[in-house]
């Protein structure tokens, strides 16, 4: 008896596969389970085993050819089984194995002869019972076509099937959807101009900001200390070097000085350059200073990181700040530009703010807010003079940093900023 073995639905719900390699040839003896052919579908390359022991008498298709599910792959001469007995065997094979998730699988693919279609859904059988009571016909369809119809909102009973026995297959659904579904979609999606509110989806960056801010506020009890430091000397140093830097095409703001001063202070107060590891009940102290710089962009806040900020000169810091700022505005920052920060500075002063309660870039231990420079009356040597004042706001994770540490850190930072030469001397 000749047994025609048809290409089964291997479970992806696709209706075709490509022959990648034949393992057998005409006249070859095969045992049940031997690999016959290597088939490739969209995502899967799979060996298709022989369902029967026998001799290969015909092979359908060459390497590279596409075979549709249900079409013959090979014919096997089964020894010792004749005529209708073999057909019965084939039919029995067809129905013995359970079908997983409504789709054919390789383990159940012993489909022979003219019964070489996927098992139909039970809906076809149920139809005959209720046929008289139902006004509309109920289509036969492959499970994947049914699922696709559901996803696309297509009434599968309206679709004419082009598969075996008029079964609806996925290409029928696609065709139907593109001709009718699209048209109906176009009709229904008309924005209502009379709405009082409008809705816009969150950008990815906004979603990330929202998530990070929430996590920080939920995980770390914040404490913020505000200070002011008189920085007239810093102003004069900066104005002296600004022109020199410009010749080298580097813009010198106050920020490189603040970064350097903060980095040096962090080396002295390592708790602020740490993080709490609650899971393992320990502190993680960072022996390097990677300074995150919060940058305001049209898309939202991003925080590129200056690596080893404590080891870099003011010139190098100025250069790097210019670079990351440009990258942030052009949206060309890469993941590595924004990773492994150990502390963050947010310079809202460049926009105009004075003091803030910045939110820690969790799981870091602290964030320094830098306000705009203002001229103010200050007392120096018991004289009231006009000074240039730099507002500072330091927020810390109060679980690991006490008020005393914050104050001592700020004192050190202010000392550096008030006397910028000390930054170079330390």
């Amino acid at each position: 008896m000749r047994y025609i073995f048809n290409f089964p639905d291997i479970g992806e719900g696709l209706d075709e596969g490509t022959i990648a390699e034949w393992y057998v040839e005409k006249g070859q003896q095969v045992s049940s389970g031997d690999a016959l052919v290597k088939m490739e579908t969209d995502k899967v390359v799979t060996d298709i085993p022989s369902p029967k022991t026998g001799t290969i008498v015909a092979i359908y298709g060459k390497v590279g050819e596409t075979i549709h599910v249900g079409n013959p792959l090979v014919e096997i001469e089964i020894e010792g089984v004749e005529g209708e007995a073999a057909q019965e065997e084939a039919k029995t094979d067809f129905t013995t194995e359970p079908i997983e998730e409504g789709a054919g699988v390789v383990g159940t693919m012993e489909v022979a002869g003219n019964a070489a279609f996927l098992p139909s859904s039970t809906e076809g059988a149920a139809q005959s019972k209720d046929e008289e009571n139902k006004p509309a016909r109920k289509s036969l369809a492959t499970p994947v076509a049914r699922a696709m119809a559901k996803d696309l909102g297509v009434d599968i009973n309206q679709v004419t099937g082009s598969g075996p026995a008029g079964r609806v297959i996925i290409s029928d659904i696609k065709k139907f959807h593109s001709s009718f579904g699209q048209a109906s979609m176009e009709k229904t999606i008309i924005p209502d101009q009379t709405e009082l509110v409008s809705y816009e989806p969150l950008s990815q960056i906004r979603k990330a900001i929202a998530r990070n801010m929430l996590e920080s506020k939920q995980q770390a009890p914040h404490m913020t200390v505000h200070e002011e430091v008189e920085v007239s000397e810093l102003v004069s140093v900066r104005s002296k070097y600004k022109a020199i830097y410009e010749e080298k095409e580097v813009k010198l703001s106050y920020l490189p000085f603040v970064v350097k001063a903060t980095a040096l202070a962090l080396k002295k107060f390592r708790t602020l350059n740490s993080q709490l590891d609650m899971e393992n009940e320990r502190m993680i102290f960072k022996n390097y200073v990677n300074m995150g710089i919060a940058v305001d962009t049209v898309d939202g806040l991003v925080v590129p990181v200056i690596k080893d900020a404590d080891k870099k000169s003011i010139f190098e810091l100025a250069q790097e700040i210019n670079e990351i700022s440009n990258k942030a505005q052009k949206r060309t920052l890469k993941l590595e530009d924004m990773q492994d920060g150990t502390f963050t500075i947010t310079n809202y002063g460049s926009i105009g703010g004075l003091h803030a309660n910045p939110v820690i870039n969790y799981p870091q231990a602290g964030i320094l807010g830098v306000g705009r420079l203002v001229k103010k009356p200050v007392i120096k040597n018991d004289n009231i003079i006009i000074g240039t004042v730099q507002p500072l706001s330091l927020a810390v994770d109060h679980r690991i940093i006490d008020g005393g540490d914050v104050t001592r850190f700020l004192n050190q930072l202010m000392e550096y900023l008030a006397d910028p030469i000390s930054i170079l001397m330390d």
Binding site: K43, G107, E336, M338
Partner: protein, 199 residues
């Protein structure tokens, strides 16, 4: 224009080559340079911008599993697994198993809105971040996936043509509109951390 396709010899193939497959094994690795990997029956001229690939002298391999061509770079994570099997079952089962493990790991890292799309992709929303494919014999299922941690889609546009077959949810979108990365979706998580979590 001389581009040669090499048989797949990248590190994850080791777990398939050793025929003493345990019930389950897992391997992740980070490529050290740019590689292009063709699916089992992809044709180079249909899948790749061959002039550009040749000009840049990019190594091209052909993997044992199916699917469309992919680019591996140091910003992508390759994930492979073998599952020893007694009988051949619906491959969706294996996609589901492996992808569920990856989705769980990524969720632990705080990544939201992950879901399996198409036959075997993992997406954030409707943007693909992972593609996977399977090679199976009667004894073993070999699953391979590429997770885009932080690679820009520029390289895909540069080297890969629009695939001949695409999942429904792609809806004709070009690489830059369809593919995303964990980084691009707003998650600043290092590739090492992701590798550790998935492993």
């Amino acid at each position: 224009m001389d581009v040669k396709v090499k048989p797949y010899k990248l590190p994850d193939i080791d777990i398939l080559k050793d025929k003493n497959w345990p019930d389950y094994q897992f391997k992740t690795w980070i490529p050290d340079e740019i590689y292009i990997v063709l699916g089992q029956s992809n044709k180079m001229d249909k899948s790749l911008n061959l002039d550009q690939v040749a000009k840049d002298n990019v190594c091209v391999y052909r993997r044992p599993s199916g699917g469309e061509s992919v680019i591996l770079t140091p910003n992508t994570l390759v994930i492979a697994t073998t599952i020893r099997v007694q009988k051949l079952e619906n491959p969706r089962k294996y996609f589901k198993m492996a992808n569920a493990k990856i989705i769980t790991a990524l969720s632990y890292l705080g990544i939201n809105n992950l879901n399996q799309k198409g036959i075997s992709d993992i997406a954030i929303g409707d943007k693909k971040i992972l593609g996977s494919s399977v090679y199976r014999t009667s004894q073993v299922v070999f699953y391979q996936a590429i997770l885009n941690v932080s690679e820009s889609t520029d390289l895909m546009e540069k080297y890969l043509r629009h695939p001949l077959k695409e999942p429904d949810y792609r809806r004709g979108r070009k690489h830059s509109d369809f593919v995303s990365s964990i980084f691009k979706e707003g998650y600043m998580i290092s590739i090492q951390k992701i590798k550790e979590k998935i492993h």
